[in-house]
Amino acid sequence: MTIVLQIAIDAISLGSLYALTALGIGLIFGILRLINFAHGDFITIGAFALIVPSAAVVASPFIGAWPFWALIPAIILIVIVLALAAERIAFRPLRGANPATLLIASFAVSYVLQHVILLIYTGRPKSVDIGGGLTEHIALGELRVPVIQIVTIAVSVALLVGLAVFMRRTTFGVQMRAAAEDFHMARLLGVRANTVIALAFGISGLLAGVVSLIYISQTGMLSFRMSLQLVMVAFIATVIGGMGSLVGAAVGGFVVGIASVALQAVLPEDAALMRDAFIFGFVILVLMIRPQGLIITRAARQRV
């Protein structure tokens, strides 16, 4: 029983991380039909901001050495500014372009960001330790749970609830939901495109910043391609959940996280090598049964 509970906590904790990432991607996709491949690099740069920019083999902490009340807002702010800058410089001129163009543009942004990191910090992975206390573990009855897992789950739930309230109760939130469902109609009804889109990128940056912090507390290592896997999984999650639906993105994140932990726990070692093949097979299956994803928005249903 203990082990089942433990696996459940592992699964929910990983699912939370995927859900937060998926939400950041889903938000932008919903409004702009842009699959923002550079979202992962926002996360990476948030993490690299923790150390002094240098090619030195041993990294020295920079923002990472600040007290947490300064560190957390500083990292989140950096990522938000980066996300807004990317929107202004790369994506705004392309507004209205077809999804393929947008995708390749986000790929180009990602490519540039990665190679800037490579140029400044070199490709050698760097280490940084933030949230020292988070690597401790606490006993819950028979369970010994790492604090980081509890923090991950708590932060994700808080952010999801916060975002849900924002979306439902504030004017901006309602405008964004309207834009996500039908951007064209929303604009006709007086929603200001620039504001809503900038806001979406800001929130997406905020989510990426939070993911940076959680991810680094968990892994302790930085490398220029550290977020690739995370973002790939988050894309999948967004699609499974239902493109354009924010609830769907979060649900998709949890589904993929839980599925991969469950498979890892259940599969024998030889088959575990093929874990990802099972996960992607599952994705194809879900898409075949429900091509619009698990949560279907009204706008999606109306399309042919």
């Binding site: 995708l103 390749i104 790939m232 994705v283 898409l287 399309r303």
Partner: protein, 352 residues
């Protein structure tokens, strides 16, 4: 109408094909004249990528549906040629999981090419039949899931693919001229498809799916046809890749090559064959120019050298700039214009 003008009409109809063929031949001729093996290798590499981009174009350009997963078929083609053309002794020792008749066979490169690209096409047909039931973005992501799935399987199917380890010993017969030959065949196939009944039906569905359906176009079937042909060409590119490098690794067939080839297509302009070709040429050239700059060039006695690692950053910026100024790609969905006669402008309408 005189027979002369009929010839001119025909010429004009086939002009994109003729023009692009001349362009590729010209590039290869220049590379041959310089005698630089480096340049010839670059051109060969570029032509292999071009075949992939043409393959992508056949499906993506004509259907309007993005495929993130087509590199799967490149991998299948590349491993296919290893299975069919390598020495039985090697296969017995290293790839014992292959069926007996495959272990025993050793065909020559041309036959290997046909079999391996054929295998890729068959897999494209089967996976396409699953994926094309979906619409738009779901289909796109599903193709990526196909790639990720095959990638994982090939990486771990040690007795058949040698797992993560490289397969060495493919005959290195591929050079610039071989690549040119296959690139021209790819060009021809893509063009003939595009002006065929099938290509036209799929293009109609791209513009307006509901209307196309109303006219009796079976969109599902048309997409599968295009996807299969696309898989065939991309599989052929995989075969060339294997025999060009002489070494095969599963890791080569994943995200970086997927994105660079998609970027070539989109930057050139995904809605025309000329766009696909121009995109591949432009990006290959840009990469090579920056690479030379990184190595250092002497201009007027002064050595100009860009810092190592700047090539990729500049490439990304150039790609962004092209997209910002030409969101529909360099060719804007048109074929290369007919250069002769007063009615030149007429050829400048968007491709059908």
């Amino acid at each position: 109408m005189t027979s002369g003008s009929a010839v001119a009409m025909g010429l004009r109809k086939y002009w994109p094909l003729i023009g692009l063929t001349l362009l590729l031949v010209l590039i290869v001729a220049i590379a041959a004249l310089t005698g630089s093996t480096q340049l010839q290798r670059t051109v060969a590499e570029g032509l292999i990528k071009l075949i992939i981009v043409i393959g992508l174009y056949i499906f993506i350009g004509n259907s309007g549906v993005l495929s993130f997963g087509s590199i799967t078929y490149m991998m299948i083609g590349a491993y296919g040629t290893a299975w069919f053309t390598m020495m039985p002794n090697f296969k017995k020792l290293s790839l014992p999981g292959l069926p007996e008749f495959v272990i025993e066979m050793q065909v020559d490169p041309m036959v290997g090419m046909a079999l391996a690209a054929g295998l890729a096409a068959v897999v494209a047909l089967v996976t396409g039949a699953m994926v094309m039931r979906m619409n738009g973005i779901a289909a796109s992501i599903a193709t990526f899931a196909v790639l990720a799935m095959f990638y994982t399987i090939y990486n771990n199917w040690e007795r058949v693919t040698y797992g993560m380890s490289s397969i060495i010993g493919l005959k290195m017969y591929v050079n610039m001229y071989v690549c040119l030959g296959y690139a021209l065949v790819a060009l021809l196939l893509a063009f003939l498809y595009q002006i065929s009944r099938f290509g036209l039906a799929l293009r109609a569905a791209r513009e307006d799916e509901i209307a196309a359906r109303a006219f009796g176009v079976n969109v599902y079937a048309q997409r599968i046809i295009a996807f299969t042909l696309s898989g065939f060409l991309i599989g052929a590119a995989g075969v060339l890749h294997g025999h060009f490098l002489g070494i095969l690794t599963v890791a080569a067939f994943y995200i970086p090559i997927t994105f660079i080839t998609l970027a070539m297509l989109v930057i050139g302009g995904q809605n025309s064959l000329s766009g696909a070709v121009i995109g591949a040429i432009v990006i290959t050239t840009v990469i090579e120019v920056f690479r030379i700059l990184e190595k250092g060039v002497e201009i007027g006695g002064a050595m100009i050298q860009a810092p190592l690692g700047i090539q990729e950053i500049l490439l990304g910026i150039v790609m962004l700039l092209i997209l910002v100024f030409r969101p529909t790609g360099i060719m804007r969905g048109r074929e290369i214009p007919w250069p002769f006669g007063a009615r030149a402008a007429a050829a400048d309408v968007p491709a059908r």
